[in-house]
């Protein structure tokens, strides 16, 4: 376990060390003979993605959001565009036969054969689970690597290979998100952090952990001098970070997220959690539920937001290290769970019900809620170049 792994709250605002000196301008240009449309894959020898004819260059440094529901990687090209790759962090095993294999390849569905079982990974796993009313298998649970899933590690490695490809230079810096210590569960992030650090190292990267809420601050609060509250609403957790001038003053997580909603909606409607996820993601507006299913989603969303806000308030009131903010601050909500219609309105509703201890000037959505954490990790990685 490196020192970095033990201390995820990196101090970016003040006195961090400079990064790799091998490339002085922080970028690297690679020309492919055949080219590739995959700016993440800088190694011409690697063939993890289909080739096409694009010549590209990217800056040194990667961002990786290790989420319970989704894995999201990001890299910035020389023109300043951020390229995102996203995989649903799920898989499903199905019966193996040649016909199915051919069909899956034709349908652009990723599979791998492990221990004579055919495993479909990513979004197709989720879609197939929906069709057959089955539950997907999940490498992660409650924001961390799942102890119940024996195939979690090989699957995670595979998914990360497809997202990151190979490093531009050996040991390229990749900041990856980790949850802050949960306040409502006895979970330890050290093992999870170590697993992903080791995994990235095995892929040739230098993995550095960054607390998820802090990543949201990096990607969304630049105009506020990285001062404010970043909230990442994920599948397994809500991660909260209070930052002052880029320094995290308070970071913690709660173990209720999108999965908690799905489980409960599934229970009350008598359907699988995967199907509840599909209902949630088909365009529900929780301020205007149209039927019983959407009402169930609204009820649990409201409860989750209220629960999160009460925990934030309680932590603020009990923490001795809270800075005195000279001006009202912004709260930014990111993460897949915040994507549902009406999220910010309901958040505002519930916020008004509690006497929040810090003056807040606005509550807003992240620019790219789903990519926000990954982009924040990318900012951290590029800042070391």
């Amino acid at each position: 376990m490196t020192e970095d792994m033990d201390k995820p709250d990196n101090d970016f605002g003040f006195g961090f060390e400079s990064g790799d000196d091998a490339v002085s301008d922080g970028s690297v240009n690679v020309n492919f003979d055949m080219g590739t449309n995959d700016p993440m894959n800088m190694n011409p020898a690697s063939s993890n993605v289909p080739a096409s004819s694009v010549v590209t260059s990217t800056e040194l440094g990667r961002g990786l959001d290790v989420g319970t529901a989704n894995l999201v990687s990001s890299v910035q090209d020389a023109e300043g565009n951020v390229h995102i790759k996203i995989q649903r962090n799920a898989f499903l095993d199905i019966d193996t036969d040649d016909y199915t294999k051919n069909m899956l390849t034709r349908l652009n569905v990723q599979y791998v054969v492990i221990n004579n079982r055919m495993v479909v990974v990513g979004d197709p796993a989720f879609e197939l689970a929906n069709i057959f009313n089955r539950e997907t298998r999940r490498p992660m649970r409650d924001g961390m690597i799942s102890p119940d899933e024996s195939d979690a590690l090989p699957i995670e490695k595979m998914l990360l290979e497809t997202l990151l490809g190979s490093p531009s230079v050996e040991g390229e810096c990749c900041y990856y998100s980790v949850p802050a210590e949960p306040i409502d569960a006895d979970l330890n992030v050290i093992y999870h952090q170590g697993v992903f650090g080791g995994l990235l190292k095995s892929l040739g990267f230098t993995g550095k952990p960054l607390v998820e809420g802090h990543a949201v601050v990096f990607s969304e609060l630049a105009e506020d001098d990285f001062t404010g509250i970043g909230i990442s609403g994920g599948g397994g957790m809500f991660n909260i970070c209070v930052s002052y001038k880029s320094i995290p003053a308070l970071s913690f997580s709660t173990t209720r997220g999108g999965d908690w909603i799905d489980r409960n909606v599934g229970n009350v409607l008598g359907i699988s959690a995967s199907r509840a996820t599909a209902i949630k993601e088909r365009g529900v507006d929780i301020t205007r539920p149209k039927n019983r299913e959407e009402e169930a989603v609204e009820i649990y969303y409201r409860n989750l937001i209220s629960y999160t806000l009460k925990n934030i308030k309680s932590r603020f009131e009990s923490s001795s290290s809270m800075p005195n903010f000279p001006e009202p601050i912004s709260i930014v909500c990111a993460g897949g769970t915040s994507l549902i219609g009406g999220f910010i309105e309901v958040f505002n509703d519930e916020f008004q019900k509690i006497n929040f201890p810090i003056p807040v000037k606005e509550i807003r959505h992240a620019e790219d809620p789903l990519y926000s954490v990954s982009k924040g990790c990318l900012v951290a990685a590029l800042s070391e170049a």
């Binding site: 970016f12 300043g80 565009n81 899956l104 790219d368």
Partner: protein, 276 residues
Amino acid sequence: MGRPAEGPWEERCRPMSQPFSVQDAIRQSATDVDLEELSRRGLRKVKVLDKQTVFRLIDEAVNRVVEERLAAATDKEREQIQSEARQEFQRLVKERQVEVDNTVEQKVQQAKAAALAQVEQVQAQARAQVDAKVQEQVGAQVESYQAKIRELEAQVQKGNVPGTAEVDPLQLSEMIRQAVADAAPVAAPSGGSSELAALAKSIESLSKQVGNSGGGNNSSRAVEAPSEEALQAFFSRPSVSDGVESNISNVEVKNAKANGVNKNLAKLRSLKKGSE
């Protein structure tokens, strides 16, 4: 009771600071005289008043005096008497209430103690039931681990170790360590689960043997987070890119473009410079 006091009504009717005890007053005012002394004085008979008679006589005397005085009292004086009587009554009621409260409190404490004892008893029963259930589950889990170990041992003996992602000494060792870690914390609190403890010990011993054969792993790390090196070794095992059957390299991952982060980066760097 002596002669009525002279002076203003307020002084005469000053409320008593303490309740008056007739019995104590008689006891304090009386003198003990031996029967022989009485006989010497020529007294052969004495008149005896019992306690009830004394009280009755006092009551009568008091009532008579009060009635006489009340008849002569002004309205203001009557009101004052009523007020003082009310206060005295309330004081007595309070005293009585305190006595009652103390009794009730005592009863509540007794009931609470009894309830706590009952709860503890129920908890002990529940714990015993849970322990039994947990032991049953652990037994099943250990059995499953044993089956896996037997299977993996067989494969190791066949030499089916290097080059396969499914079975290698490191992985086997890891699984066994996991089994030990899973079994140990459950077996410990139940106290008398010597069978499980012995099983855990034997698994750990096996883990040592297998770990050593696979590269000298230290079994003392069984319940710790794996080291970076161990994880790297685990993840260095063959995977998708090394010949495992898969179509992943032929299928494109979902991708998107997002706005750049140069502005954030510049801000962060300037913040850093400003702080230096």
